[in-house]
């Protein structure tokens, strides 16, 4: 097949953005629908891609490569393996859901909002597809700007502080990553007699790394730079404090994408680039990173317990959940890695759903303070039921996707060192504590005076809101019962990852 389907998927939202830009802003409905149409188109195409993807073999498929800046061997090179295709589908899915979920809440500057969102989608898809380090970096930064605007323009009262913190924090990491990327390419260039050809090509670089040609000291520095960039994005303890602020201030759909996809960019970077390119350094730092991950898991959960704000609580819970991802990556076990990736997906679905549900409440009450809620199970039974479902999924109830991912990480880590699992398992109780306590205060009990004051505004979920949540819930159940759908795709990437990391694949 010669159709450049990856590029088509990447740039469909861009075309959408241009189309939206061309529409006059006095037709907000038309703008919304156009944006939705293009994001749906990208989604359908990503599903077609999934159908066309050949499951078995290792390596990248649908590779497209064109020279871009031949002087430095920078190329437009994209391709997918089992990992990236999953991330792309996750992105396209959450994108149209987010856009649809924004129909009601976003009434001001709809055009700019939709353009931002579509550009954001381009960047996110691009990150997952790029096989050229420079291209990857560019997409990585492209993601930053629309998110900055989305939080800063359509966010809450403290949005400017939050968005600046988000951008600056991310930039510190990513600019150091740029240095590391350039240094890596240069090391490759030196190793190839001064020729820049292929110096940014991920596959060639990885072969170069596999032959042990990056020096240990160099690896350590470059790895740390990449790690910092990715750890901030994930976010790992102690680089996480931008997340609660960003989540709290972002509009609902912004939070959904932030939690659903943006955090995954960091984890993806670790799996795809940081470890395979610098395996020696990855092993050197694995111990401290595992410790940080364990801290993040427990710490995030503990802090979640005392959060007064719904979104802030979910944000801290993300720190905890994403800790499983980094843990799963750095124990270097095929099982744990598959669990980590599954966790990435299910965290995207579950936390995305939770943010949508908080958005539903926020639309009606314009408040997210847990203490002001109460008794919503009686007033908004459908909402409360769905909320309960996502909360249980987040708490890792077996049969839903969150459980499988976390359990695989647990099992994989246990095989490496039972201590890790023992130190981490307490999160089972902590997660249930903060989630159920929050649910109890929001949904159970009698109606608070604050809610009574709202009277008839407190209607149950609308059809549109239900439509945004339905696919997420469906996928959570399906992946919980049939995780093989994902795991089959991940077998090859997991082996490739471990091979690149220099670990023998067991089982």
């Amino acid at each position: 097949m010669n159709l450049p389907i990856l590029s088509l998927i990447t740039f469909t939202p861009l075309v959408g953005a241009l189309a939206v830009a061309a529409l006059p802003s006095r037709y907000p409905h038309l703008i919304r629908r156009t944006a939705l149409a293009f994001s749906l188109l990208a989604w359908v195409m990503s599903l077609v891609l999934l159908a066309a993807y050949a499951f078995g073999p290792t390596g990248f498929q649908f590779v497209e490569a064109h020279n871009w800046i031949p002087t430095f061997g920078i190329r437009y090179k994209v391709g997918i393996d089992g990992l990236s295709i999953l991330m792309v589908v996750l992105t396209t899915t959450l994108s149209w859901i987010s856009i649809l979920a924004s129909f009601g809440p976003i009434k001001d500057r709809v055009k700019g909002y939709m353009i931002s969102f579509l550009v954001l989608e381009v960047g996110m898809i691009g990150v997952f597809l790029a096989l050229d380090l420079f291209l990857f970096y560019i997409y990585w930064e492209i993601v930053l700007v629309p998110m900055y605007l989305i939080i800063g323009i359509w966010g809450g009262s403290n949005r400017i502080y939050a968005t600046m913190k988000f951008v600056l924090y991310t930039l510190v990491g990513s600019l150091l990553m740029l240095v590391a990327i350039l240094a890596t390419a240069f090391a490759y260039q030196v190793g190839h007699g001064g020729s820049w050809v292929g110096a940014f090509d991920f596959q060639l670089l990885q072969q170069f790394a596999a032959s042990g040609q990056f020096g240990d000291a160099f690896q350590n520095l470059a790895f740390l730079a990449l790690f910092l960039a990715f750890a901030i994005k994930v976010p790992m303890f102690p680089f996480h404090t931008w997340l609660p602020d960003a989540h709290t201030e972002a509009p609902t759909a912004g939070s959904v994408i932030l939690a659903g996809v943006l955090l995954k960019l960091g984890a993806y970077g670790l799996i795809r680039f940081a470890v395979p390119l610098y395996p020696h350094a990855a092993h050197t730092f694995a111990g401290p990173i595992i410790v940080l991950s364990v801290i993040a898991i427990v710490y995030g959960a503990i802090v979640s317990i005392v959060q007064p704000d719904l979104k802030r609580l979910i944000a801290y819970s993300s720190v905890s959940h994403m800790g499983f991802v980094t843990l799963g990556i750095f124990v270097f076990s095929a099982t744990a890695l598959q669990g980590a990736i599954l966790q990435m997906i299910s965290h995207g679905l579950i936390t995305g759903g939770l943010f949508l549900l908080v958005g539903v409440i926020y639309e009606r009450t314009h408040d997210r303070t847990i203490a002001k809620m109460g008794g919503l199970a009686a007033t908004m039974p459908v909402w409360a039921t769905v909320f309960g479902f996502f909360i249980l999924a987040s708490a890792g109830l077996p049969g839903l996707s969150g459980f499988v991912g976390e359990f695989l990480v647990f099992v994989g880590s246990f095989g490496i060192s039972p201590l890790i699992a023992v130190a981490t398992i307490i999160v089972m109780v902590l997660a249930a504590t903060y989630l159920l306590w929050m649910f109890q205060r929001v949904a159970f009990g009698t109606m608070s005076d604050f809610l009574k004051g709202l009277g008839g505004h407190l209607t149950d979920m609308t059809g549109t809101e239900a439509v945004t949540l339905l696919p997420l819930g469906f996928l959570i159940v399906v992946l919980g019962l049939f995780p093989s759908l994902v795991l089959d795709l991940l077998r090859a990437p997991a082996q490739a990852f471990l091979a690149a990391a220099g670990v023998a694949v067991g089982g």
């Binding site: 560019i138 492209i142 510190v172 740029l178 350039l182």
Partner: protein
């Protein structure tokens, strides 16, 4: 002097004629704006054609004092573009303030003529004279609004300190000349090469180096010789600021290329540490102070200091053994020209009505009031921040790559540059915050720039974008202009 010399320096000659023609046109039709602008821009067009005709050729004039090579062509084109853009942005600003456009255009073109002469100078004496030809009109431009106390205050500071530094530079040049016995760049280089080969450099030469470095660092606005920059930039009429932020800066780097790389190249191991320190100080101070500024012009002034620091990294990379550092400087200069002029142009547009300040509050709600202007400003600011795929990003990447290739302390410098770039995002994005995330205040300025102005804006915007999407084109040109290979 002969006809062949005239041919070699034809762009400079034509530029002088254009300036004269502008004055003549103004005499024929006094106070008419359009003929002047048509003459100036048309004339600059002819200059550009003359430069392009020379592209790829090489030659020299005045017995080797002036050399025509790809570097000259590249820089000349840049200077012409700077002049043309400045004129496009100036007309709408000067007219409401009753400032004469013809005089402005003529002085500006004279200044650019000086800059073009700098670009081609391969003789210390010519270099100095050309430099003065470039900066003297600059002082005049800075004080162009002569009834405006800010403008004149900026101008006198600029002038006094500029003359002071010129004298210092001159003193250094004299010493080098005295020690090497020649003013020709290649002759100096050859003499210094033997000095280096024979061992230590004499204290006299060290003094000369110190004086020259100070002089050039001043013109670049490198810390700690940058003091004039914020005041002169803030005081000057905004289009002049736009010019000052790129014209003399690129000119100063042209001097650096001709003088430090061309003539003092053999001593690069000696001036490398100095440049590293200068670069580190410059970008750090520029950024730190820019963070605290509430006046956009002043903020951009400090930002231009910071960018000097980044460009110096390229020079340091060259001295550290990486030739492509020079290509990076050229690329940076070109990219910086478009994005920074664009940013100043937007400030100019907001100040179209006299009496409007350049406080950041005037940007409040610009994204809503004038979406296109806001979007362009955001584009320029993001480019200045270094967000891909925009011009500023590639400029930084190019410089950083060169530094990494040079290795050693240069890698540390590269890391410092990137940390600086992250800090810089704060103040650039702060303007975006005002434009998009705050509601317009009551006294926010209306803006409806004219067609010419909009054309200029479009050129800078498209340039910023094209440089970003197709950096290979500019990179190839910059690489070709790097005549110091080998």
């Amino acid at each position: 002097m002969n006809w062949s010399d005239i041919g070699t320096i034809s762009p400079v000659v034509i530029a002088v004629l254009v300036a004269a023609a502008v004055l003549v046109v103004d005499m024929v039709a006094p106070g008419r704006r359009d003929p002047v602008i048509v003459t100036a821009l048309g004339g600059l067009g002819i200059v550009a054609v003359a430069i392009l005709i020379q592209a790829g050729r090489s030659g020299s004039a005045f017995g080797g004092a002036y050399s025509l090579d790809n570097l000259t062509v590249f820089l000349d084109m840049l200077f012409v573009a700077i002049a043309a853009l400045t004129i496009m942005f100036a007309a709408d600003y000067l007219e409401p303030r009753g400032l004469p456009i013809a005089e402005f255009a003529a002085v500006l073109i004279f200044a650019v003529t000086g800059a073009m002469l700098v670009a081609g100078s391969t003789d210390l004496l010519l270099l100095f004279v050309a430099l003065e030809l470039m900066v003297l009109p600059g002082y005049m431009l800075a004080g162009f609004a002569r009834h405006d106390p800010y403008s004149t205050e900026g101008a006198i500071k600029y002038f006094l300190l500029g003359s002071f530094s010129s004298a210092i530079l001159l003193f250094g040049l004299a010493y080098v000349w005295g020690i090497t016995g020649t003013t020709r760049v290649d002759g100096v280089a050859a003499a210094l090469a033997t000095v280096v080969a024979t061992g230590k450099i004499a204290p006299g030469l060290a003094m000369g180096l110190a004086f020259m470095t100070t002089g050039v660092a001043f013109k670049m606005a490198a810390v700690p010789f940058h003091y004039w920059t914020p005041d002169a930039y803030q005081g000057s009429p905004t289009p002049v600021t736009a010019y000052l932020s790129v014209g003399p800066k690129v000119g100063a780097f042209a001097i650096a290329l001709r003088l430090f790389v061309g003539a003092l190249g053999p001593l690069k191991a000696d001036w490398l540490p100095v440049v590293i320190v200068l670069a580190a100080l410059t970008m750090t101070l520029g950024n730190l102070v820019a963070i605290t500024q509430d006046n956009v012009k002043r903020m951009l002034a400090y930002s231009s200091i910071a960018h000097t620091g980044y460009i110096l990294v390229g020079l340091a990379a060259y001295a550290g053994g990486e030739q492509s550092g020079l290509s990076a400087i050229l690329f940076y200069g070109a990219a910086y020209t478009f994005m920074n002029m664009g940013a100043f142009a937007v400030v100019t547009a907001l100040q179209r009505r006299p009496g409007v300040s350049s406080q950041i509050a005037t940007f409040a709600g610009l994204g809503r009031r004038d979406p296109w202007l806001g979007a362009l400003m955001a584009l320029f600011l993001l480019s200045l921040t270094g967000i891909p795929p925009l011009a500023g990003f590639w400029a930084k990447a190019y410089v950083i790559l060169a530094a990494i290739q040079a290795g050693g302390w240069l890698t540390v410098l590269a890391v410092l540059a990137m940390i600086n770039a992250a800090a810089a995002a704060f103040y650039y994005l702060r303007v975006v915050v005002y434009m998009y995330m705050r509601e317009p205040t009551g006294d926010a300025a209306p803006s409806s720039p004219g067609a010419l102005f909009r054309t200029g804006l479009a050129i800078t915007g498209v340039g910023t974008l094209i440089f970003g999407l197709f950096p290979a084109l500019v990179a190839a040109a910059a690489d070709a202009a790097n005549v110091f290979h080998g």
